[in-house]
């Protein structure tokens, strides 16, 4: 083997011969020229290739960054008339990267005057976090933006973002819910419809904003007038099961969630379960008539408290007995209702209440559906107390849907928060016969129209309103607190052909001078329901009726008598 040095020297001799010979120098020069030409050619070829490459291949960086966005914007939420309830607005997000900041103290001191509600110390503490992204403010105005740019702080950026905005603030706040920082629904419709909203599709609710505002206004007015601690209400379209309004007070502004108290964020209308009190007598009456346990003219003794083992069932006012079924409802007799329930029996009662959706959490399209509280043992005593609304706690939404079945045309329709489309088939479950339903709505009308009825103050001239009051003592330390009541009123209208159900509940009202010291459902909740109906009737297109209209006679029972006199449905 030859050493490599010899090889090198041989190749070197080709271009740089050791001893140049004058005869060969011309030949050497040509060789050198050729090599130089090839090298230069390669350089030019490379440059041309790169130039072609740049000119012909598409360049990805051409589009400005602002046209690229991650996914479609979150879908909007509208009410049934298309009014905007939740939307997105572009905002400027002020954020900082501590690793790029030269002097944190300087940044904090310069930014603090431009950020309302921030002290330099707060910002300094934020900037000390071991992360590369610190959000300082989500709502920078264009003027602020310019001022911040003028400060020329490295490591401080303003970039475009979106803000979930609820233009109507407190209105319907509970059922809309909220989204977290990443735009993910964490409550209400925002959570339950997360998939649809995230894909950019809008969600249309069954809610009517105008009715929602009326309901909220009237319930909050009663809370103020009676120094109550809270309240709830709903308006239900009895023909479709759509909830037209759902309010819970106190409420909160979803645009300023951090300022909301825990109690205000609780949805009493759907999540809260309560002993509903006497409004359950509507269901008890309907079940008694439907199961054959009682007829309209059956008489029940109510003169003395009903004693069952160590319990005594009493009436709010002692009544002279015996009472017929309509009289029991009009006077709201606990004893009469319990005697009716005794004839119905616990098993039949339970079966009916189950079919009315009262024993399972309602299936509204929000995560906040209250689980009803059943009695530990559904025996005789439980069945007697449930007949007048104690011993079984349900949510206002559940109670409203069940009463709508009894007072409407006998069908149970699952309540919904989403607007039904015309092609949607409504699932109707027949629970009560047409005859039972007619009797129940006639009696509910008498609760309002009869002078002895507990719901007189719900009467509104021109509209036939039916209803039932409920005054339930609140549970306090395993017993009942006689002073703290939860009062409610359930109204249906028009009473002869119920289309809408209005439910009003007020928590712990206190007797006032203007109510002669009373704080019962008839004084607190019934007038609110009447005012709601008076305001909503023109909006939903229900016209005033005259008492001599034939369909009133057809749809209400004739010849019911209360306290020995024939009852009349309209006195005006």
């Amino acid at each position: 083997m030859k050493p490599p040095a010899i090889k090198f020297s041989r190749w070197a001799g080709w271009l740089w011969p050791g001893r140049p010979e004058p005869a060969k120098s011309w030949q050497i020069a040509r060789r050198r020229l050729a090599v130089a030409t090839v090298l230069a050619g390669m350089c030019f070829a490379g440059i041309s290739a790169q130039a072609l490459n740049l000119a012909l291949l598409p360049n990805d960086g051409a589009a400005p960054a602002s046209t690229q966005q991650a996914g479609p914007p979150r879908g909007v939420i509208t009410d049934r008339q298309g009014r905007l309830l939740a939307s997105n607005v572009p905002v400027r997000v002020l954020h900082a990267d501590p690793q790029l900041i030269l002097d944190r103290r300087e940044v904090a001191e310069k930014l603090a005057p431009l950020l309302p509600g921030h002290e330099p110390a707060d910002i300094l503490a934020l900037l000390a976090k071991p992360t590369r992204y610190i959000e300082l403010d989500r709502k920078i105005t264009p003027r602020r933006h310019a001022e911040i740019l003028r400060l020329g702080l490295p490591g401080v950026f303003v970039s475009p973002g979106t803000l979930r905005l609820y233009p109507h603030g407190r209105e319907a706040a509970h059922l809309l819910g909220v989204v977290d920082r990443d735009g993910l629904g964490i409550a209400g419709i925002e959570k339950s419809q997360q998939e649809q909203l995230a894909s950019g599709a809008p969600v249309t609710l069954s809610i009517d904003l105008a009715l929602q505002a009326i309901l909220r206004e009237q319930v909050s007015r009663q809370i103020e007038r009676f120094e109550a601690i809270g309240g709830a209400g709903l308006i239900l379209d009895m023909k479709t099961g759509e909830l037209l309004a759902l309010a819970s007070l106190p409420d909160f502004d979803p645009n300023h969630l951090m300022a909301a108290e825990e109690k205000a964020r609780f949805n009493q209308a759907a999540k809260g379960v309560f002993e509903m009190g006497s409004i359950f007598k509507v269901l008890n009456t309907a079940i008694a008539l439907e199961s054959g346990a009682a007829r309209l003219d059956s008489q029940f003794e109510v003169a003395r408290p009903m004693r069952v083992s160590r319990f005594a069932i009493r009436d709010y006012h002692p009544l002279k007995g015996p009472l017929s079924v309509p009289e029991i409802l009009v006077h709201s007799s606990n004893i009469g209702s319990a005697r009716m329930a005794d004839l119905i029996g616990p098993d039949t009662q339970r079966a009916y209440l189950d079919r009315l959706g009262l024993l399972r959490a309602s299936a509204l399209e929000i995560p906040e559906n209250g689980q009803p509280l059943l009695p530990p043992r559904w025996g005789r005593i439980a069945s007697l107390t449930i007949s007048y609304g104690h011993g079984l706690s349900v949510s206002p939404v559940q109670a409203a849907a069940a009463i709508a079945a009894a007072a409407g045309d006998g069908h149970y329709i699952r309540p919904t928060l989403l607007k039904r489309r015309p092609q949607d088939e409504i699932e109707r479950l027949r629970i009560f016969s047409e005859d039972t339903a007619r009797a129940v709505r006639s009696m509910m009308r008498l609760v309002v129209s009869h002078k002895a009825g507990t719901g007189n103050l719900a009467e509104v001239e021109g509209y036939l309103i039916g209803g039932k009051t409920g005054t339930a003592e609140k549970i306090l330390n395993k017993g009942y607190d006689r002073k703290a009541n939860r009062v409610s009123f359930v109204a249906t209208f028009p009473a002869h052909d119920p289309a809408y159900l209005v439910f009003v509940m007020v928590d712990e009202p206190k007797g006032q001078k203007h109510s002669y010291g009373y704080a019962t459902a008839g004084w607190v909740a019934a007038p609110a329901a009447g005012r709601i109906i008076r305001q909503m009737a023109p909006i939903v297109g229900i016209h005033p009726v005259a008492t001599d209209q034939p369909e009133i006679r057809q749809n209400l029972l004739a010849g019911l008598s209360i306290d020995g006199e024939e009852a009349i449905y309209a006195a005006y």
Partner: protein, 120 residues
């Protein structure tokens, strides 16, 4: 040699053509990007305006304004009556409408119409 020259001319022509097409595509991409940015800005403005409209037309504000400035109150039942209840003007008669048989109307209005023959 002639073929070679022709080939070079053809090549440079097609190269130039290709380059011009490429440039025009680039220009269109830029135009597209600009339009997209415009659309986005318009959508943003639209969203802001819609939110502002919702904010300005919120029921409690309208209620307050209509109460304070227009002295409007909820409609009472006696302000509403079916169209048949309105008396028709008889042909040939001028000026004075005559009372027509009014079907079911709320009591108050009905009385008023039958007494005066006019809507209040």
């Amino acid at each position: 040699m002639r073929v070679f020259v022709l080939l070079i001319v053809l090549l440079s022509l097609s190269g130039t053509g290709l380059y011009m097409v490429k440039r025009s595509i680039d220009a269109r991409y830029a135009e597209l990007a600009r339009l997209r940015a415009d659309i986005r800005a318009e959508k943003d403005n639209h969203a802001i305006l819609q939110a502002e409209w919702a904010w300005l037309s919120r029921p409690d504000r309208i209620m307050r304004l209509s109460g304070n400035l227009l002295e409007m109150t909820p409609i009472e039942a006696d302000r509403i009556l079916p169209i048949e209840a309105i008396p028709m003007r008889r042909s040939g008669q001028t000026g004075k409408p005559s009372p027509a048989p009014a079907p079911a109307t709320p009591a108050g209005l009905k009385k008023q119409i039958s007494q005066t023959g006019e809507l209040p």
